[in-house]
Symmetry: D2
Subunit: 465 residues, 4 copies
């Protein structure tokens, strides 16, 4: 019954702080851009785990009253993004599990690629599943490890799974963080008032005025307990493959990941765009908000003035209902408006972070044409997105990726731009130096760091999605 969901999320954990649940709430709040479908917090007072979960935004799920019920000085949290309509409460994390050695709570960010194989195998051994979460597979492996030691059991379980995972786990007395050996998804370590914190991005530390300690390394497992923090490297080493799209689009501009600040990196992507694809124009216009960093970089390197030619409506939310009986379709107009007074008669360079299906870009170009821009040159701060992601970014199937099936000039015609250029893979890698050899760029290159399992299920997934 359960369809696999892509896990594309944010995680947070804090150990031994008197305000554990409140700080987790704020941490999730800072990570809200990583998912708006659901949120949950589990706290421990050393005896009992308590949980509050719900669908929707962090600010909707938690109330003073339910936060107050989350007693204890250790807590973990999760916010989730869901790609399908099946975002029932059942699938909201953290997952809380009873098993032979007690109770644990677990928050997972990333997407495993061999879950169907393991799930089939576990089901063949009599395991039942109540959710469609990767997490449920991990906890079942853990519970069946036969290891008496929790850490051994966890490593046993993680050795089975393949794919992207940044996981935060809590039992009654410990907080544990793990990043997969490829390091696909971010996870960083902070400290506040002596208490350790784990978070998907540094922007969560900043909100708490916590100190950034360091990134958790690929393949690293840290155990935080009354003895402090102990680091393990229990997995065979792999080529680091941090998701380059976290820099291009997904992470918040103010976060630092692997020593690189996100907005500064986007600015460099803009510099490279100028270098590779200069064009004469009057204005550089970002598609807000993700195109802003690269547009500033483009303006800086080209000397062409930056202007906010597209204004975003900040009140666009999940609840907006486009009237069904309408004779019009509003689409992206609901979110963006072109400033005619600024654009009329101008040659403009529009900067966006990527093109997926091309439908939204086409509407934006149309809107800019209505605002009477004289020339429209679209520049994309990443290479053509030709391959689906299997590690946690929500991309459609290959067939739907316009760059997978069309040449650039065809795309340009479809979008009705005067010119269109993408950044090259080399240009992108240059911009993210010194991370250039440490990223996964499979969505651009098709070079997937992890081979797919031979199961028919994944094969089907790969070609049919």
């Amino acid at each position: 019954m359960f369809n696999k969901l892509k896990e594309h999320c944010g995680v947070f954990g804090i150990y031994e702080h008197p305000e554990a649940a409140n700080l987790t709430y704020l941490g999730l709040y800072a990570l809200q851009h990583r998912g708006q479908e659901g949120a949950g917090i589990v706290s421990s007072d050393g005896h009992k785990l308590r949980v509050v979960k719900g669908t929707g935004l962090v600010a909707d799920v938690f109330t003073e009253e339910n936060l107050h019920s989350l007693k204890g000085s250790t807590a973990i949290g999760h916010i989730r993004y869901s790609t399908t309509g099946e975002s029932t409460l059942n699938n909201v994390q953290p997952m809380v599990v009873d098993y032979a050695d007690g109770t644990i709570a677990i928050s997972h960010n990333g997407n495993l690629v061999n879950t169907q194989v393991i799930r089939d195998s576990l089901e063949d051994q009599g395991v039942t599943f109540l959710t469609s979460l990767d997490t449920e597979i991990i906890v079942n492996l853990l519970a069946r490890s036969g290891c008496e030691d929790f850490l051994e059991a966890l490593v046993y379980a993680l050795n089975f799974i393949k794919g992207a995972y940044s996981i935060v786990i809590m039992n009654r007395n410990e907080l544990i963080g793990v990043r997969d050996p490829y390091g696909f998804r971010p996870l960083c370590l902070g400290k506040l008032d002596g208490a350790y914190i784990l978070a998907s991005e540094t922007c969560a530390l900043d909100l708490l005025e916590a100190d950034f300690v360091r990134d958790i390394e690929p393949g690293e497992l840290v155990v935080i307990n009354k003895n402090g923090l102990t680091s393990y490297k229990p997995f065979p080493s792999k080529k680091e493959s941090f998701c380059v799209f976290e820099y291009i689009y997904f992470s918040r501009p103010d976060s630092d990941i692997n020593g690189l600040n996100v907005t500064l990196t986007r600015r460099k992507l803009g510099h490279m765009l100028v270098k590779e694809n200069p064009v004469e124009a009057d204005l550089v216009i970002p598609v807000p908000d993700s195109g802003i960093g690269a547009a500033l970089g483009y303006s800086e390197a080209s000397g062409i003035p930056f202007a906010e030619g597209l204004i975003r409506n900040h009140y666009v939310g999940r609840t907006f209902i486009e009237p069904k009986q309408s004779i019009r379709h509003f689409g992206v107009k609901i979110k963006l408006n072109a400033v005619k007074s600024l654009l009329e008669g101008k040659r403009i360079i529009v900067i966006d972070d990527s093109i997926v299906r091309g439908t939204t870009s086409r509407k934006i170009i149309k809107m800019l044409r209505r605002a009477k821009a004289k020339e429209i040159h679209l520049r994309i701060s990443s290479p053509p997105t030709k391959y689906p992601c299997f590690y946690g970014i929500d991309t459609p199937t290959r067939q739907e990726l316009i760059a997978a099936t069309h040449q650039i000039d065809e795309i340009s015609r479809y979008l009705t731009t005067d010119s269109l250029a993408y950044l090259s893979v080399e240009g992108m890698l240059e911009a993210i130096k010194p991370m250039e050899n440490r990223v996964c760029a499979a969505c651009f290159t098709g070079k997937y760091p992890i081979k797919f399992p031979t199961s028919k299920y994944r094969q089907l997934d790969l070609f049919d999605r």
Copy 2:
């Protein structure tokens, strides 16, 4: 983490009817008195199971829109009563489970007594638990049976468990109903437009204008599929032990169970009360609503007029909040009011179905005193409740049961009644003829039909609760 909840619920299922989900909704609605904590429906269109669940009343959980989403011609439903505050959505049934042979949904009414032993054993074998439901144990046993045939697997699983269960199960193509070999909880079979129905009580059939076919027998398992209905008796036979409290209090007055109508049975309990404990008085007053049947019987047998001396506020609901800062405590006054004009100066016989802790009865007597009743004789239409129930009725621990620790005259003094009498066990059994040898009366006699497992867990439970 998860504390065992008492399952005390209502179940419903219908096979191959074009309005399966709607009829299940109405069936649950008719069974609402069996639980007000949560409700759920799972439907199948032969390919996919769909689920809607929520906490609260049936009328709150379901909407036109979500009922409409429950496609398919087979459906099962569940309403739940929870004894603890942990009535999270996680614990709302039906439970939907993926396992090696597909997906099933299951609704369970009753309470198992050996779950902790099995749960411990399963956890030792690496099983994880996401809920505190007995149902999760059953499905894990089922999934680990090693049997290829679904029915065999189900029987394998049920052979492990001990206690009370009336279960409705659905897979993509079948509807299955089972009652435990003791027959603790009711389950009946009906038919509407050729479609079979399973329901906890006949009042659900009545609402649908479905025909009552028969009760499912203790230890019977019925499989309803495209071949019609097939009945199995796969368990060793046990002494039938239908919960006598279903007649006394729990079932709806209009339901027929095991050939006995509930309100007529309560009337006979009233007759027996007169026989055993006659008293001269002016009026017979029921404590509404559960005391009405026996009060009518008492009036009938004694010739003393019946009067509605306590008026119930029908708008008392779960959301009523007694103002905290109040200097008063309202308690049962919120629900009931004594009619002074009717009671003043009168000698009254008050009929209630049972006394648990005695606190509510004491308040009612006080209220009747304020209404100036001259004499108050309390008659209880069941024997003293001295033992906790382990099969699905929510009773407190022995220590809290006033009749377990006090003599009747002590209770009478505490309640401030002029006289107090309970029905004898013999009188009760006489009233329920010809079911007198087919019931469990353990809450009155301490003679539990099922021996407790030797696990320390249940032992503790037994003595400490």
Copy 3:
């Protein structure tokens, strides 16, 4: 734009009690049967009025938090019943009004008959209306009185209006109660801890354990302030015309009104029914809940046993949605179920309080037929309802009143009863002695105590409704 709504409500007020808002909340709760559409409370701390209002049940509108915000020791409340779909929050009372001499809050129960004339006249003088409430007319009259004294202004305003009104008014320092000179609607005075209370029915006093002092008299106006209670009789005397339907159906059985207890009065209506229309039968069956009192009386006088042959589902609420796509219509079955085991083969007398359109009664008779009752004799504890009410009871237009257009034998055939009899007007008056000359029975006799204004509006209303 605004259509006139029938006001059919409950009112409450309390002066100088430290828990004024909480007690008002509980008082409204006890009066909930008088209206389920909306509720509101206004409190005063001597300086500022504060208000909380909402649509729905008392338990839904008020929370600990918003009750806590209602500071002050004087408060009034209102619950409303609405006959139309226009039950917007705009029309929830108490109404709070600013005018030249300060701010007042007002709760009104009853229905005026000359509002359109006054409204037209006021509009001609430039008055604007933001609601469709009679109350807004009263406050406009009050504000335009030209009287400096508040009481004089109020009496001035009330002298203009005709119809039924029991009003509770609060300004910063006073609580005022008024009943129209005919005394159509009830209003009683109570006392708790020295604080005066005004309430529609005594059941509200009972819940608070307040003492009943007396009924407010027809045409009486009481002012409660720091000088205690002062009574005025400012209106020309009229023939008392208390709504007889309050006894028959509308009031709560435990209330005492004009010295008569409601359930005892209903019992006498049952006695008279036997006297006027005896019939041989096996059982007397009430239509719950309003038929219970008369059925008990019928049983008592006839010696035929009373039985609960129709069981009511107590969870029927406003939110129940009958599935639209259903091939069935459930109607009254949702609320009531016939107990076949009790009724099969029996000659039964069914007691109901009244028949309006006849459609519900017909369904009940059909349900009893399905339960195989051998004979069904319907007895109505009031005379045929032939005329609409203009004073606050929600009755349909004459055309829709089945007794206005059909003979009793025709109605009996339509309902498919073996016999049908109503109580005579004389019988009814006999049962309510000594109130027989003090009631309005216009819905049965057409003798309206108040002549209609000559305005075309009311004429139209009278004949077309």
Copy 4:
């Protein structure tokens, strides 16, 4: 009881379009930045007005279902901003009023200055008030005009009131728009598919892809009916006094008002800032979002690079609850985060639109210091805000305006900036050319275009607020 609320809102109206309510919904959506407290739409089908209102965001108030109920081809809408906690549903507009000549609906943006005088006078004449809205005063004046003609009555009413108003009115057959003679608040005219539209800002027209026709002129009244649009100038001419703060802060950057585009105007404010207050630095940083336009202008004119050094959390909403029991205060950190990687060691110029109390600015400066900016120069794109606004912008009392009571160097010390400079009044007027003689800049200069009424009420207000 009712305290005066500042009206600071958005209005919209459309005449004779088949999708009137849907388009009004979208129009309000585009105007959401003008108020987030409540929204309402009234539609007319030529016979009946229908209304939907609620508190909260446009997307929360309206549903497919309630939009569908708003039948008819003419509609007006309103979104409101409230300065006080008294934002009850009572005060949500449009207001719908019944009066002698029918029913009208009215939406008002702006703030009247002589309402208390008129209200007192009206109350003395017997008028009652159910809300605290200026609108209720206007409709009462209108209803009491004695004029038979609607337009005459409206002009009669408007001649009484003083202050800022942009009003949209609808009766069954007409749509009317008016701007006060000073033209304080914006109101523009558009056309879509032949249907006229009135809206507070052009961004609403843009979303609908409607054509901008022209601004409604100060003192102009337009009547739109089946004869098309007729323009009137019924008021004595006044010196145009458009609120300069609409350019500086309040309007959406993409709107054009009086021929000036908002973001381009802000850019010019930035140019003037450089001219008046140049400073050497490494980066220009806006306080998002209102500081962006001026910061881009500052960067452009100074050649100092623009950078997004403060990142805004887009999920900050009304429901965010800062945990009360927290030992920390988060305040502006919830909304903004400083990008340390970008700011560390840099000399930065921070651009904000205004300083009100100074508390938020101080926190932002502190945050930038924590991010290790070397020098922080704050530049404000408007003059010091020294005087409260009485025409519809929510400013606190003089005492709370930091610039009213402190010298610039004192403010700079309080904010802990290395330097602080405001734009001069002259610089501001230069930037808004050719509107320099057509604006109200009273909040900077104290030169209020409208003299205050002599009533004690306004005087008190003026000095005590």
